[in-house]
């Protein structure tokens, strides 16, 4: 009886929960990809150095030539992805915030066309209509990698819990404050996943740049095929694969660091 009356004062006890988990960034699993890549490259180097290279192969399989092609390839990939981020994220935000379903449908349809068209087609069509070279390849890559970032930005904003949004508004945040302080931070993981996809897309599609004289590791692959020099082909192909793996790994790393804690 007494306890019914006095129980109000006994409510202080709060359940103890686990202390905040430290974010684990440096684990063994984290370094699996770079270790595998290093091993593959070591095997490749050992294999190539064990071969008797003819004069054509020597012209390609040397450090100067290879680093130049890797540089071109990376430049295309990184610059195209950066452009995609700068263009597609704001457009994604605008589309997600737009009350017009028509606008939304048009933007998505255009981005879909960019990706659904075969990459070779986009590159060659642009070269015919415009010019050959680096800039054209860059534009083609941007068109091609636009959709994942655009769509993920839209999804990232849309998926923010309606209650979180309502409590932000209810506390007196302006729409711009809700976007910058609540919606975008909460959308970061999804947007970054889109950017990561775009990067890996770009590494692959940048090999096609060779068809319009824009360089990159595609040069090695195509030369190796045309001249039937398989060591050249294999080195080019393996390098592209390794770059894709490494870029994906770096992007995943950044994703984990930039994702707000507490999510």
């Amino acid at each position: 009886m007494m306890s019914t009356v006095t129980s109000d004062t006994q409510l202080m006890a709060t359940r103890t929960v686990v202390p905040p988990a430290r974010r684990r960034v440096f684990t063994l699993k984290r370094f699996t990809t770079p270790i595998v890549v290093v091993v593959i490259l070591a095997v490749l180097l050992w294999w190539v150095s064990s071969l008797e290279l003819d004069s054509i192969e020597q012209r390609t399989l040397n450090w100067d030539y290879i680093t130049l092609r890797i540089g071109e390839h990376l430049s295309l990939t990184v610059v195209a992805s950066a452009l995609v981020a700068v263009l597609a994220i704001p457009l994604g935000v605008a589309t997600a915030k737009s009350p017009s379903k028509v606008f939304r449908a048009i933007v998505l349809a255009l981005a879909n066309i960019g990706q659904a068209t075969p990459a070779v087609g986009v590159v060659i069509l642009l070269a015919i209509l415009w010019q050959t070279g680096y800039t054209t390849a860059l534009v083609a890559l941007v068109i091609y990698a636009f959709l994942p970032v655009l769509r993920n930005t839209m999804i990232g904003i849309d998926q923010v819990d309606a209650n979180v949004r309502e409590s932000a508004r209810g506390m007196g945040m302006t729409p711009a404050q809700v976007l910058m302080r609540i919606e975008l931070p909460l959308a970061v993981p999804v947007i970054l996943a889109g950017l990561r996809t775009a990067l890996v897309f770009c590494v692959g599609v940048a090999t096609i740049a060779t068809f319009i004289n824009a360089g990159g590791l595609g040069d090695m692959i195509v030369n190796g095929l045309k001249l039937q020099r398989y060591p050249v082909l294999v080195v080019g192909a393996v390098l592209v694969a390794c770059i894709a793996l490494l870029i994906d790994w770096v992007a995943g790393f950044i994703e984990d660091i930039v994702t707000p804690r507490g999510l």
Binding site: T4, L11, P20, D161, R165, S167, G172, M173, I182
Partner: protein, 348 residues
């Protein structure tokens, strides 16, 4: 809403609750018609809420009680009518500014998952441009108020807290800038019964000391009785069927709709609201080792003890452990009977 309101409210709450920290709210002929819907969701709603009063909106789902509440901070804009807080027309104020001076708690809490508990609570003070030290002090103070240890919880993220703890943070966050008015939409609805009862008891104690003007929406009539100073029983289109104190609604329901809402056991619910002091006590029984009841308990507790003991009367024990009298079932019934003719209390 100007800053002076907030300052005045803050001063009020700071002086240990001696002055009520709330201001009056007036709704006049407020109507909401959603686009594309013929019938209004809220139809011609008028109500006057006293400063420091805790008013409960009770009604079935979809009756418009939440819509009515959300028009006060303009999360939903009224179609017509006027709403005034402390005499100022809210529809003429900047909605963002307005909301910074109204505490807002929703059932799903809506804590920001990427912010720590301290950052969550600091949101409105930051929007109002408070200094860092003032914010930090306020966060600590509020965490203590809702009985969460700042050292343990301030740096945690919402997902590391249980549902009940999150709801406490939700209340603390709404109180952060010491708003004179609080709007609460089924704040305890998503918690389990035991946690809910704890939160309700804590909330009642808290309200005793801060005296905010609170609009509290619930579909749980028992919660309304337990917490409310006055209860508005609402039916479709937010029509007020009865607006009165819990005791008056229980003893004299206005119509069948209100009666159906009270459900079974109205007398027992009423007893839970009446202290033993209201009953006429008889002489001490003097029976040794018989069950007793505390003098500050309610009549419901007394009846419970009587039924359990199976005795005609049991002793009522004061704070010092000495029996001050005894109580019988007849005495309890007499209190209920005495209330029936009912003098309407102040404000009804």
């Amino acid at each position: 809403m100007s800053d002076s309101t907030a300052t005045r409210a803050a001063t009020g709450a700071a002086s240990a609750g001696s002055t009520p920290g709330g201001v009056g709210i007036t709704l006049d002929k407020v109507t909401k018609i959603y686009a594309g819907q013929g019938a209004p969701a809220v139809d011609d709603f008028s109500m006057s809420v006293q400063p420091g009063e805790l008013v409960m909106f009770v009604g079935p789902s979809g009756c418009g009680k939440t819509t009515t509440m959300k028009m006060i901070n303009r999360i939903i804009e009224p179609t017509s009518g006027s709403i005034a807080i402390d005499g100022r027309d809210v529809l003429s104020l900047n909605p963002n500014e307005l909301r910074r001076h109204i505490g807002y708690v929703i059932q799903q809490i809506g804590l920001f998952p990427h912010m720590t508990i301290a950052e969550n609570i600091a949101v409105v003070p930051r929007l109002l441009g408070w200094g860092k030290q003032k914010i930090a002090d306020r966060v600590d103070e509020l965490l203590n108020t809702v009985q969460l240890d700042p050292g343990t919880f301030a740096a945690r993220y919402p997902k590391q807290l249980s549902g009940g703890q999150q709801q406490r943070v939700g209340v603390a966050r709404a109180l952060a800038a010491d708003p004179p008015v609080m709007l609460m939409d089924e704040p305890f609805g998503a918690t389990d019964p035991i946690t809910r009862e704890k939160l309700q008891a804590e909330f009642l104690r808290l309200q005793e000391s801060i005296g905010k003007t609170i609009i509290f929406v619930t579909h749980d009539f028992d919660e309304a009785i337990r917490l409310g100073d006055r209860i508005a029983v609402l039916s479709d289109r937010s029509q007020i069927e009865q607006f009165d104190t819990p005791a008056n609604i229980l003893s004299a329901p206005a119509n069948d709709y209100v009666r159906s809402f009270i459900g079974q056991g109205a007398a027992l619910k009423r007893l839970a609201l009446i202290p033993i002091a209201d009953a006429t006590l008889s002489a001490v029984t003097g029976v040794k080792n018989a069950p007793t009841v505390a003098a500050d308990a309610t009549l419901r507790d007394a009846l419970d003890a009587l039924v359990l003991a199976g005795l005609p009367a049991i002793d009522v024990v004061g704070g010092d452990g000495r029996a001050v009298g005894s109580i019988t079932v007849d005495a309890i019934s007499a209190v209920l009977g005495a209330e029936l003719p009912g003098v309407p209390p102040a404000g009804a």
